[in-house]
Subunit: 146 residues, 2 copies
DNA sequence: CGCAGATAGATGCATATGCATTTATGTAGA
DNA sequence: TCTACATAAATGCATATGCATCTATCTGCG
């Protein structure tokens, strides 16, 4: 985006492609889910984290750390998913300020229905463009940016 | 996010880290720009593309392809930037439906003021975490996902 | 020419997001 | 205990985004 050289001369290229790649892949996955009449991606992530935390349930602030969402963003996401009947929010006995999130039957079913579509979209958008070895290497390098 | 294996067993890891890395880096860069009292990232990209297209100017649909933004999104982005006095929209003589985008003095100055802050944030968020060689390799791999 | 698309760009309306603040509860120290 | 501060979560308000549609112009074909 600019010719002046920087300490690490490839940082800019990495950044540009990182954005382009993740934007494209995300758009493809979202489009696939929507075309299948399924909820958006962030619903999946939330449902999955809550499902993994069963049977104890999950506090909202804990989910917040896992999903890297801002507090108000998650509060509203949770509100929408709960509105759709996929999760429950029950008051936390140990901490009157908090609540415990858990999947409903419908929530577990929804997550399960999303997975094959999600996985196929991921494979399509990423898996088919890289060999297994390259994918592993790419994942390793990306880990250092996380 | 799920244990069932897929054709390319690393696609899921790539996807997860791709999102996390780009989200984190983007958040850092945006925060740095905002802290410096500068416009957001997408303004920079637009200004820079328009500046590169000088002296001919740039059609909105051409910018749209370069920035990978939806038509209505760019229409509004352009509206905001023009409102701020950083670009001009003049009717296109060859095509009455279109317009030609060009930087104003203030627009060129704004882009120039943003660059060092942007570059430093990029270096901070990416350059310091990878060797030059690794950055080049990473960029090469990402190219296949773009 | 006259009309059927196609294309460039804007916009109304619903939904989502960012930011700051609020409410309620918890914790620690004088 | 009372007070000050910290934390969990929600929300009012402004702004941004997605989607569908609209207007205006262009292009090609009978």
């Amino acid at each position: 985006m600019h010719s002046k050289s920087a300490p690490n001369p490839h940082a800019e290229t990495v950044w540009t492609r990182l954005v382009r790649a993740s934007t494209r892949v995300q758009a493809e996955i979202e489009a696939t889910l929507k075309a299948a009449g399924l909820p958006p991606l962030d619903w999946y992530d939330a449902l999955w984290e809550i499902e993994k935390a069963a049977p104890d349930g999950l506090r909202q602030f804990a989910l917040q750390e896992r999903l890297l969402l801002p507090q108000y963003g998650l509060s509203r996401l949770i509100g929408r998913i709960a509105e759709a009947g996929l999760i429950t929010r029950t008051p936390c006995p140990e901490d009157g300020r908090g609540q415990i999130l858990a999947l409903t039957e419908a929530g577990a079913a929804a997550r399960k229905a999303m997975w094959p579509v999600y996985a196929a979209a991921m494979e399509q958008a990423i898996g088919t463009r890289l060999t297994g070895d390259d994918a592993r290497r790419l994942a390793d390098m990306l880990a250092r940016l996380v």
